[in-house]
Subunit: 748 residues, 2 copies
């Protein structure tokens, strides 16, 4: 069945080159390869990224995920005529990302300017069974006559991050007139990267090699006979000095060895191995919906496919960047998106990966403590943006204002502190699911204590009450405000759970416990006002409102900033994204349902949704409020953030958090799971378009399959211990399989 | 008449993009702009270079002429369709480099995929009256209907030197919603470069600005009415911290000020000012031939045009690189080409420029003395390759051998020492022409003494005779040989002229004089053998010979190195270029004419002409030997080195020395001027195809016009003092105008 899930690109259009370049990214968490077409187009950006390989161009810049030398480019000439879809005539064109097996296929029927027709099939995958491997297969058939085909391909180190070069060339080699290898080094971080590749041709060819201007290329000349397909298979791999074990010590040797081992299998056999791994993944993690709108399933599969492709599940030293390994947006940095939008997917499908993402924070705890100290606080202040080192990587200044010549300080590193509590929230979520005492006792407790300690030191006293002043909440259109509801509640939860686990594990830091108790008893927590509205911060509700409809039409474009300065936006009731709504999503039982609805309506009306994190969260809260239509509409709109028609919105990479959020909507929204005191509850409310929703779920050591139909909830325990589940207010113990009816789709 | 001299590019062909990119370079000695088409093609390399702006990418690299941010790129969309000659249909296409006024025009009639026809006229020039200025004009006419045109252009700092980025972005600004400015800094050499530009539109347009990913761009949207042309004029300028005076102190302010001053004139008026300067140049410097083959005149005009464009006549701190300012080949480094192939053109047309090129060496004398010392010699050892600092810039190692992984040491910096004597030769040539005592007393004498001193220390004694061992002559296919004829004779001349000027200017360094006399009396100077052949070095004539015909067919490609290793080539009688022939060119009276002919025949038979410096020198010597056909054939082949049909031979820039050599052939070959004891002699031998050869000549303060026809020599003194000229053995004093006949075309 999975074989049918395909993302299509049905028309060659230069305007969409980089959108599909992002959408057709293939990755395995170790590396990501943008879906650039094999042949070059001036507008097209190629990209090969390896998790953790960052570099600073100079001391004024922050670390950037390095665009590595390219292995995907193939230049072809047929009887001297350059193959380009801008030239000649495209008789048919189709590119398909086959999600089931993780392969891209592109089929083209093309008439050259000379009038002869040629058929091309391009295939490509990055292996899931061997994270270093990528392979390409090209099949060319001359349909009308014999012809001479010239192919030029190899390793192209002219790639840059939009003009910034991060690599010096250490070595380029050709071994045995067959294997090409380039070894590169990042200029500042000093990582060594070895790229190794070789080509295999189906027909006798004239092959030569040359290195020039940072390119190591092979030229292959072959005579095509009419209707006899020619195939070229290209195997490549990437090893770096960041790799674990022997490979990390000598990436070049590892690359040569791996290439020798792989090449004899051939493209098809290697693809099969990789596809087998994908099959396991789909079995383990796929969310299935039966919807009147088939696109829903595709969007869900696509989200899972790309989250898998960008998560470095192999190595706890890295986490998931805001664009994963799909592009250079946000310089490959890791934000709160990793914990709040990506981690839950892993936690509920493969908890080991979630643990690694949390270990990433633990490994960087000292950097966070150092940042807190530099900023005059205690405990751990995690960086708003981080890369490999765990240091703060947020640029100190935003891009220059080209009209004034000034650069505004980026406030996020200084004030967007909620990330500290977000990490704490994820830790507790991890524990509640896994009951992993060992982790919690060591990493969890250390992180909770230091994040809790941060908040205690962060609060300031006024008239006996504690405030958290001068922060930025998730809504970045409102900067430097006091008592942000999201931040204060999250900080409260952070300290409360820190104290809980200190108690549980007999921690003896009595002073911290005492200070924590005091913090909890005196921290100001904004309450709903007379209109049931929870004030986003101390001043938000008193600010003027404007009609946002014209900006909502072009949401995602930040068009408001063309009409108003950032300072002006800050002084109005304008939201970039869910903020109080985010809080309501995380703590569904904090307020009565009436309050939740009122706040959803109120804040949504003031939200432009210029952030890709906004829609899905609104969908979840709407679903829980029984607003089926709105929930489903928000879900569909969230699915279009990358897959929608805007040709340029994903040029610099996919919206990782948004992909994670699509999964969140199905599980936390429509299936409406929530966790309270280590207990799983389920209150499904399917959209009208959906007749069935099914997904696997890891919960406290058990693997469950959960299926929700219009009439029933069917729970199956595949493995693991008995688990207790609360459904619509009733408690069930699941030991094998059970069917519950007819509780769902009741309005709250 | 000059208006008719046009270099045409009559067909859009992606294979020729970079050849024409080099050929259509516009320059003024301060800056050079490659003739890249305005719209992008993936195969196309843009280039903007400023004389003296070099940078080292890292400590292992040598300095490289920096590819600066681009001002020429223009992206156009018509009704959303990207304008590209790869797409749609080209109904007519013609690009013309108008040599007379230094302007490129490109006219295109294009049918978009939508079926509508559009006419484009692109114009571009770099100003000769203001070295910082470049301007573009674009005229678009929609022929069949109204249409929406979107233009994106500005300053693009994503340019690299084949993937190497030399610039950090310091600032990007938009002033008054009109003027864009980018300020950049070279990462190692620390030069500041300011690019300033603005656009002017003929119709009301919707204009916006944005900066992102190293690009500062304006987007202009305009509604085209049927048959009403729309014009966009774009004015740009470049100022750098290397500039003299106030501009060098604040290039950004200088750029803004200049743009304000220039823009109001408009493209046409500015072009006219520039063209006026070109007119003066052509009057001053043009060589005119009346040939049955019109291409001869075009090649000569083209050579003068490009030499003018690449010579930094404004600033003695720079010289002419092997590719001038036309591309990145040889990293923009300065070789002996500057003195031996470029300088004579200037010396005989505008001696002040020749003086500046010699001052470049003088300014770097201390670096040359330091290099000699490091290498264990006395005096001055000028670097084989140099850039701004005058330090040795020859890469220590050649490109890696991709099969062995080893890098061969580049021997030129260690052993290609003839450049020292080449500089000395040029000094004397300069003096003989200008009689510039002031220069000669100071710079000339200092240079001659230190270069002479170098040779004295460079020689080694064997049996009472002095040898110069382990050198490389101009022929780089023969490395590490002893007593290279070219080198020894040139060294002898160097020391001899040093002593002459020491004597003349009462220099008191008696020790140097004594050592010099001893050097002259004992230096081994290879004499013709029994077959009249001057041995190129001690062992050359005893080496085996092979049939070179198949390599001569593909001369210029270094194809021999595909069949033989460098070491193997070294052990055979195989020449890359003229070597003994070069010696015979420089010293026409050193040997009897019979010896000259024999050596020309012998060495030419062993020369592949893989160097672009070879053909023209053979032409000169053949002309002097009365070998009219061979001389003319060599001349024509030399003219094709850049202008010939090979699509890729000039990709990385024009062959500057070859362009200079084309001029040399006409003046030193066909007009056959030579200088002996400060006296000019003239022995013309026109090719059969030519009925007339005329050129201006500066000689000892006088400006002469020399016209050679089949029957007469007509000499006109335009200005300056009386001069003595020897023609075919008779002496004449030229005070006004004289006609001499019928001496020419006599075989020697």
């Amino acid at each position: 069945m999975m074989k049918e899930q395909v993302l299509y690109d049905k028309k060659f259009d230069v305007h969409y080159l980089n959108k599909y370049g992002s959408l057709m990214t293939l990755g395995n968490g170790y590396l990501g390869v943008r879906g650039a077409l094999e042949e070059d187009y001036s507008e097209q950006n190629r990209g090969l990224y390896v998790a953790g390989i960052y570099n600073k161009a100079n001391e004024n810049e922050t670390s950037e995920l390095v665009n590595l030398p390219d292995l995907t480019g193939i230049k072809m000439e047929i009887d001297g005529e350059l193959f380009s879809l801008m030239d000649g005539e495209i008789l048919s064109y189709e590119r398909r990302l086959h999600l089931a097996m993780g392969e891209i296929q592109r089929e083209i029927l093309w008439r050259s300017n000379s009038g002869a027709r040629f058929k091309f099939l391009f295939q490509r995958f990055t292996a899931k069974h061997d994270l270093h491997l990528l392979a390409t297969k090209l099949t060319v058939t001359s349909l009308d006559r014999s012809a001479t085909l010239k192919i030029v391909t190899g390793i192209d180190a002219q790639q840059t991050n939009f003009g910034t070069q991060h690599l010096s060339v250490e070595n380029v080699r050709v071994f045995n007139e067959e294997v090409m290898q380039g070894v590169y080094k990042t200029t500042e971080s000093g990582h060594t990267i070895a790229l190794t590749t070789a080509c295999k041709c189906s027909l006798t060819s004239d092959v030569s090699f040359a290195a020039k201007n940072r390119r190591l290329l092979t030229t292959i000349k072959v005579d095509l006979s009419e209707n006899i397909p020619f195939t070229l298979e290209k195997f490549g791999n990437v090893y770096t000095s960041l790799d674990q074990g022997q490979a990390g010590k000598d990436p070049a040797t590892a690359g040569l060895k791996a290439l020798k081992a792989h090449a004899p299998y051939g493209y098809d056999a290697l693809l099969e191995k990789s596809a087998l791994e994908w099959e396991k993944t789909w079995q383990q993690k796929r969310v299935k919906v039966t919807s009147k709108n088939e696109f829903d399933q595709l969007a869900l599969d696509y989200a899972v496919f790309q989250i898998e492709g960008m998560t470095p599940a192999h190595d706890e030293r890295f986490s998931v960047g805001a664009k994963g390994l799909t592009g250079e947006g946000y310089k490959g940095h890791v934000f709160w998106d990793a914990e709040m939008f990506i981690l839950p997917f892993h936690l509920f499908t493969e908890p080991e990966t979630a643990k690694k993402l949390l270990r990433y924070r633990y490994l960087n705890l000292q950097q966070a403590i150092a940042k807190a100290e530099r900023n005059g606080y205690e405990g751990a202040l995690f960086p708003w943006e981080s890369a490999l080192s765990g240091k703060e990587e947020t640029p100190e200044f935003a891009a220059i204002n080209i009209r004034t010549g000034t650069r505004q300080k980026v406030a996020s590193a200084e004030a967007e502190h909620h990330i500290v509590a977000d990490i704490a929230f994820s830790l507790v979520q991890y524990y509640e699911n896994t009951l992993d005492e060992e982790f919690m006792k060591k990493e969890g407790l250390a992180l909770l204590k230091e994040t809790g300690r941060f908040w205690i030191s962060r609060a300031t006293e006024e008239n006996g009450q504690l405030s958290i002043k001068n922060v930025i909440g998730p809504d970045e259109y409102t900067e430097h405000i006091d008592n942000n509801a999201y931040t204060n509640y999250m900080a409260y939860y952070n300290v409360k759970t820190a104290l809980y686990f200190m108690e549980k594990y007999d921690d003896t830091d009595e002073l911290l416990k005492m200070r924590g108790q005091d913090f909890l008893s005196r921290l100001y927590l904004p309450k709903p006002n007379a209109n049931k509205i929870i004030p986003q911060d101390d001043t938000f509700l008193s600010k003027p409102e404007i009609d946002l409809s014209r900006y909502k039409v072009n949401q995602g474009s930040q068009g408001i900033l063309l009409d108003y300065s950032r300072d002006e936006v800050n002084e109005m009731q304008i939201l970039k994204q869910a903020d109080v709504v985010m809080l309501l999503y995380l703590f569904p039982e904090l307020f009565p349902s009436g309050v939740v609805s009122e706040n959803l309506y109120y804040y949504e009306a003031h939200t432009i949704h210029d952030s890709s994190l906004s829609k899905a969260i609104h969908s979840i809260v709407a679903a829980r409020c029984g607003e089926h239509d709105a929930a489903y509409r928000f879900f569909q709109e969230a699915c279009l953030i990358d897959l929608g028609p805007n040709p340029y919105s994903s040029d610099e990479g996919l919206h990782a958090a948004s992909l994670g959020a699509i999964w969140l909507v199905t599980v936390f929204g429509f299936a409406n799971i929530s966790i309270k005191n280590s207990r799983l509850t389920l209150n499904p409310t399917l959209p009208y378009n959906w007749s069935e929703l099914a997904f696997p779920l890891h919960w406290q050591g058990a693997t469950l399959n959960i299926k929700v139909t219009k009439e029933h909830i069917i729970l199956t325990k595949v493995s693991g211990p008995e688990v207790m589940i609360e459904i619509s207010g009733f408690e069930y113990v699941l030991s094998d399989r059970m069917e519950i009816a007819p509780l769902i789709r009741s309005k709250p």
